[in-house]
């Protein structure tokens, strides 16, 4: 015990007056309120963001369709009756669809009017019909009622995005086309159905034919490469630096560099990728492999830093106990320290992957900001990713792409949620408490 000098002048008496106490309680309450207000402000912003995306994007999940009575004329589709796929693929489906349109509206004459009439049906309907015939060869020769997608403009009209009350000259959809659409609607030949194309096809310049599947597959391939490279390399680097490396000027230098790399703007990694992977190693442009490599370089520092922090948080006693019962340093790390640090490492990896998921800048340099119709089938096929798809659609002049942009954002968010969910589940599996 130390003796304090009994000098009254420097001993302060606590102020227990009511006024002072009330002030303190009020300050406390205010502070809590600020916290709650901050949370609500953040939630409100999130709600506005999500609300605006969902309200614009949700209509893209449905598509207006029109029914046509199609005569699957055997003479046009398969004159010899062989059902040979090569012959079926070559038939003039365009003519069949157009004949059906003419039959539906027999009083539309003249080339200009007919062109205008054909614009209400999707220009991809001949391909849809081809697929229908190929899947149902037994129906050749019969007349079927088939639902086709309407063109994007008619779809936007049905959804109310193109107003009817402005002068005809200012509208994408002309009065005659609205008339034909209304006639079809009265006949029960118009319906709204779930837009499967949006989830099953690649990009297209026709909004009603455009889908995100190509971008989703591209994203999955790219992130797979990123994960396979950055996770093991990052964890190994973190384990070595934290558990085995001697503490000297070299490891200090390495540490500083890793911290700096984590803050480097992503476009720089794109330039590096262009110089090294494309120009030096001659890898193909636009390939998910190269995209994954570039994003792995970008993610690595994050994984290493998070990994080291997680390893540091494992108590010393665990290591000492393991070593004490005779485990080798390798056994200590692999049997005890690493499993305990795993939840933290996984969190760090997910943060890095989520950042990689949202990147477009580094991908621009390696040619992944591109219009790609075919669904990629491998790591070296040309591919694009979801954020790039959002970017490209946001720039497209057609009005129907506005809702598709938001819908693609919803898909991107869903992708992120699935990734995070997987991380949470994995973390829970590994979680230990002490």
């Amino acid at each position: 015990m130390t003796d304090f000098p009994a000098d009254r002048s420097i001993t302060r008496k606590p102020d227990f007056s009511d006024a002072h106490l009330r002030r303190r309680y009020r300050a406390e309450a205010r502070f809590r309120m600020y916290g709650i207000a901050a949370i609500f402000a953040a939630l409100a912003m999130l709600a506005v963001l999500l609300g605006s995306i969902v309200s614009t994007g949700s209509s893209a999940f449905t598509q207006t369709e029109m029914a046509l009575d199609i005569h699957l004329d055997a003479a046009l589709i398969d004159p010899d009756g062989t059902r040979d796929p090569a012959i079926l693929a070559k038939a003039n489906y365009r003519k069949i669809v157009r004949d059906a349109m003419r039959a539906q509206f027999p009083d539309v004459s003249g080339r200009r009017n007919q062109r205008s009439l054909f614009k209400i049906i999707s220009s991809g309907s001949d391909f849809d019909l081809r697929q229908f015939v190929e899947a149902n060869t037994e129906l050749i020769g019969t007349t079927q009622t088939i639902w086709f997608k309407t063109s994007a403009d008619i779809d936007q009209l049905a959804k109310g995005a193109i107003p009817r009350d402005v002068p005809e000259g200012d509208r994408r959809v002309k009065d005659a086309q609205i008339g034909w659409f209304d006639t079809l609607d009265e006949d029960g030949r118009i319906r709204r159905s779930f837009n499967t194309t949006f989830f099953t096809s690649g990009d297209s310049r026709e909004p009603e034919q455009a889908g995100v599947w190509g971008a989703v597959v591209g994203t999955a391939l790219t992130l797979a490469v990123t994960l396979v490279l950055s996770f093991p390399i990052g964890v190994m680097a973190a384990v070595y630096l934290e558990e085995f490396a001697p503490k000297n000027r070299w490891t200090d230098l390495i540490e500083v560099n890793i911290n700096n790399l984590a803050a480097v703007p992503s476009i720089v990694f794109g330039l590096l990728g262009l110089a090294v992977f494309l120009n030096f190693f001659g890898l193909p442009r636009s390939a998910p492999l190269v995209g994954g490599l570039v994003l792995a370089l970008m993610t690595l520092p994050t994984v290493i830093i998070a990994g080291r922090a997680a390893l540091q948080s494992v108590p010393r006693s665990i290591r000492e106990a393991a070593l004490g019962v005779g485990a080798s340093p390798l056994q200590t790390v692999s049997h005890h320290v690493l499993p305990l640090a795993m939840p933290g490492i996984l969190t760090g990896t997910i943060i890095g992957m989520a950042r990689a998921l949202g990147e477009t800048a580094p991908l621009l340099m390696i040619g992944m900001v591109a219009f790609i119709v075919d669904i990629p089938r491998g790591f070296t096929d040309a591919a694009t990713v979801l954020p790039v798809q959002v970017f490209l659609w946001a720039d497209a002049p057609e009005r129907a792409f506005v809702e598709r942009t938001s819908a693609a954002i919803i898909v991107l968010l869903a992708f992120l949620i699935i990734m995070n969910l997987a991380a949470v589940l994995l973390r829970r599996k590994f979680e230990r408490r002490w």
Binding site: V276, F281, A296, F371, A382
Partner: protein, 336 residues
Amino acid sequence: MKIKTLTLAAALTVGIAGAAEARDQIRIVGSSTVFPFSTAVAEQFGKTSSFSTPVVESTGTGGGMKLFCAGVGENHPDMTNASRRMKKSEFEACTKNGIDITEVQVGFDGIVIANAKGGADLDLSLEQLFLALAKDIPRDGKLIANPYRMWSDIDPTLPKQKIEVLGPPPTSGTRDAFVEIAMEGGCKTLPGAAELGLKKKACHAVREDGVFIEAGENDNLIVQKLEANPAAYGIFGFSFLDQNADKLKGASVNGTEPEFEAIAAGDYPVSRSLFFYVKQQHVGVIPGIKEFVFEFTSENAWGPDGYLIDKGLIPLPDADRAAMGKQAQGLQPLAM
């Protein structure tokens, strides 16, 4: 750390690269203005031919030229799109790398000055447009910083309204074309400008005092901002005006409204030509290039009733189109 990663990554990728097959997809790079048209042709080509769908990248005209002229071989693109003619320096870079080029002019693009339907009508001359947007203007034999705040300050017949123009940033090809055609055009006819050194490049300087607002590369964004602010005018490509004709109206320039026919006939002054360039060394090596050029230059695509017109392309006059088509399909080499 970086070296370790690189060597690991390299070891992994070299193996895969060795296994990659020869490219069977046409690769196109270049202008974002030609991108909507090039992609439409690519999609149509992929659907109707036996070749795979070409990959079209939007790199900007300059970036596309750089990639295109980098060399011959699978790793280099086969075509590049451009919203201006190839420069002599670019042509020389190409020639130095052993590339022979075919130039194809595909049509026109109009650049419009538009505002919301509810806003004031604007009928400008190029001169007035220059006076509204230039950084420095001549007055009394001297160059002074642009003093105009209201349209009516320039000419009493113009609307009594603050000048507020949203336009593309300097990185955009649309901006390049706008300053080159509209600003330079207005500057040329302005009395007393040339004597003060305001000619060619000097006319390109756009004012930076907040009257001209750089609104980013995304033209849809400018359209949305114009809707929200009827007093503002925006500068963008004709196809965005065409798609949003229910919300926006275009300003007349030199008495001509920005309409399809007027741009096609060359009456509307602010329009530019669009091109694509083909690498001859790749024809016959990468499958489908000749067929793709045929598709692009078919009447079904770039003719007055073609699908590119639906996408907003303004076609060449009939005679020019026929000549250009023949030249393109014969892969006539470009000389400069």
